[in-house]
Symmetry: D2
Subunit: 232 residues, 4 copies
Amino acid sequence: MSAPPSAEAIPVLDHGFVRLDGSLADDLSVVNAARVSFARRKEAMDDSDAGLVRFLMRERHGTPFEHNAFRFHVRCPIFVAREWFRHRIGSYNEFSMRYAEAKDDFYVPAPEDVRTQVGKPGAYTFERVPDELAAETRAALEQSYRSAFATYQGLVDKGIAREIARAVLPVGIYTEFFWTVNARALMNFLSLRNAETAQREIRMFAAAVEELFSTQMPITHAAFLQNGRSGP
Amino acid sequence: MSAPPSAEAIPVLDHGFVRLDGSLADDLSVVNAARVSFARRKEAMDDSDAGLVRFLMRERHGTPFEHNAFRFHVRCPIFVAREWFRHRIGSYNEFSMRYAEAKDDFYVPAPEDVRTQVGKPGAYTFERVPDELAAETRAALEQSYRSAFATYQGLVDKGIAREIARAVLPVGIYTEFFWTVNARALMNFLSLRNAETAQREIRMFAAAVEELFSTQMPITHAAFLQNGRSGP
Amino acid sequence: MSAPPSAEAIPVLDHGFVRLDGSLADDLSVVNAARVSFARRKEAMDDSDAGLVRFLMRERHGTPFEHNAFRFHVRCPIFVAREWFRHRIGSYNEFSMRYAEAKDDFYVPAPEDVRTQVGKPGAYTFERVPDELAAETRAALEQSYRSAFATYQGLVDKGIAREIARAVLPVGIYTEFFWTVNARALMNFLSLRNAETAQREIRMFAAAVEELFSTQMPITHAAFLQNGRSGP
Amino acid sequence: MSAPPSAEAIPVLDHGFVRLDGSLADDLSVVNAARVSFARRKEAMDDSDAGLVRFLMRERHGTPFEHNAFRFHVRCPIFVAREWFRHRIGSYNEFSMRYAEAKDDFYVPAPEDVRTQVGKPGAYTFERVPDELAAETRAALEQSYRSAFATYQGLVDKGIAREIARAVLPVGIYTEFFWTVNARALMNFLSLRNAETAQREIRMFAAAVEELFSTQMPITHAAFLQNGRSGP
């Protein structure tokens, strides 16, 4: 795990990124998949097709949005990856700490991202903490990370299997994975993770995913927005 | 529904085809998805990578084969489509006879494909019938199709809803659909459908699918063959 | 294929039924699955739990509704089964006409169900046709079914493989299958198939499914209704 | 999170368990799902049915094994849960450290489970370490866990949101979840996780799962063993 592997990667948080590794994606495939119902097919989009895309989204005709694929390369903290992997419609391959050696990249929130939780269960909001407490928190996280990594390193150096030594590594450590997903499942992910109710950290990754998605399928993305950020 | 929509479509049976409408597929993505476990990535395949692909296939590490997509456009009889759609890992959009008008294309087996079933349950084999019986069978099918279609047409002409009139249409009528699938699910399909035990008709479609697959991911396809036509 | 296999089967259309073959289903499992987030568990529901179920439904927290299973035994026309099987989250085993012999049960709509289609594409409605046309339609369907079945029977009697002879059998013939599904996928099915926009025939099957579902998980079903027949 | 919630829970590792919370599972449903192909159904198993179950397993007819459900309640370390959740065919609800407070239960391997990794990549084996190194390792893990938890507790006490403070918690901490799965996906899980190549810790959980599975579907489980621990 090192620097983002190419210029197009979008940096996220202190050591993370989202990169589009490849895609088969265009708005035309949505239209053609829907039109196969009537045995019609087009070689190019025209203006009326945007209306069809909006109609399909609104009426929750989901399958026409599945005939495409996005392959993302992501680097994020484990606690973000754990939320991400709950989305089962999609494919994952992740860095393994059973065999490979962990690297000491850990998530420390920017000062303005250190927050407190206010309100009641089911209706929490989050607020920035005073600068001093933010600094103190960052120092405490860094110290704890450093100490855990030293323990890990020490055990590995003594010959303890990595799959055991890793037990002390915190969920704030960075991991890396490939994620391949279609636009329908992607919009479901965005509606839940690039949202007020999502944890701020995964939300920032989801925003990067959304940026790449909107570039590839602008008409579908516009329909998603018009539908209140609700997928088909 | 008309002639295959482009030169690359592979004709199958009397009125069917398989066409690759688009793909995100290469052998390199298999290797890179597997290597993310070790945080390594390559820009091109080399000779050792073919060995890795074979290893993954043999050891049933399936996920690296999921980071790709094939979008097929298929035209086949309904009884073939029904077997096809039992494969749930993949996306489908099909021609709808609820609203669109059926077209009179029906499957009549070539004389050498008219067969009889011999043996016992669980161990049937199929043999070609004598020419005369083949001719008789073809005539009987054609006559039955023509009659059913005339009934359908007559009811539609009298104003009966298509969704009701279609009830008389036989499962030998042609339908059309888009199918998007990844290589792992595709190999599962091929192992079951381009196989001795599959019905001859779907097998011919599966063979066309396999031809297109092998062109896109030749190293993965070779590993599939070496693994006894068993996917990961 | 014969009479419904037990008293509890709900008859649908002229020869169909829906029967609950078994289930693991209660509202308590929804509550306990949601409460595992807070490491709390209950042995019985209380009044406040209905509110939690409604909250989960409205906020689209879907996974707590997946920890249950319904195993249905269904008999319906093939054209209904084809729409049903498009729902991929669930398990199916169906009667096979490749090897088993077809039985001559076909769907003939009741006189009041023979309908015409009015309106424009995307906004069709259906209206009952005059009695005379209904009677004529029913006779035409019956005649076409009888003729197709005679062709099928004749070919089988001459030794033609069933998997070929069946090509003439119409999509109005009855088939039979087992369907196992969880409440989340079931509600998605109900929202699309026990709905105005669904074809009347599958809607009647979906209504029978809903009746059995509401008996097993009454609080979840009530929340589904209150949520505008939209699942989580 | 506390003691296993009932007598039937199987304890695993130092603070974990597997408990069968409910099931819809019997061998007869496999037979009946397969026999629907021929429209036959039984009220009870007989001797010949075990042969059918073995045949289905061997020939990889998987769908008859899907008409059942097991709902497990599991408590295990996060690094075990992460491997578990890679199995996408199934339903999960997990304890959330975003809002609920973490409890200080951490995995410390028994002395005989502290191991070293020998051999080459792709062919590692694991061996027990000398008693002294085992004791030293256990002490290092405990010390690191205690320190991380103190940091977590300190941050929470100062008002830092739990969703941030948890970043220091190690993957050796215990979590809890519900898992609902059918026998086909369960056998896939067992073939990969109750296996030589799996990490010892998840293997012990998988063994507990297998014990509960074999009690519910003994004939299916016997066929799984006879098939070389390979599912359908």
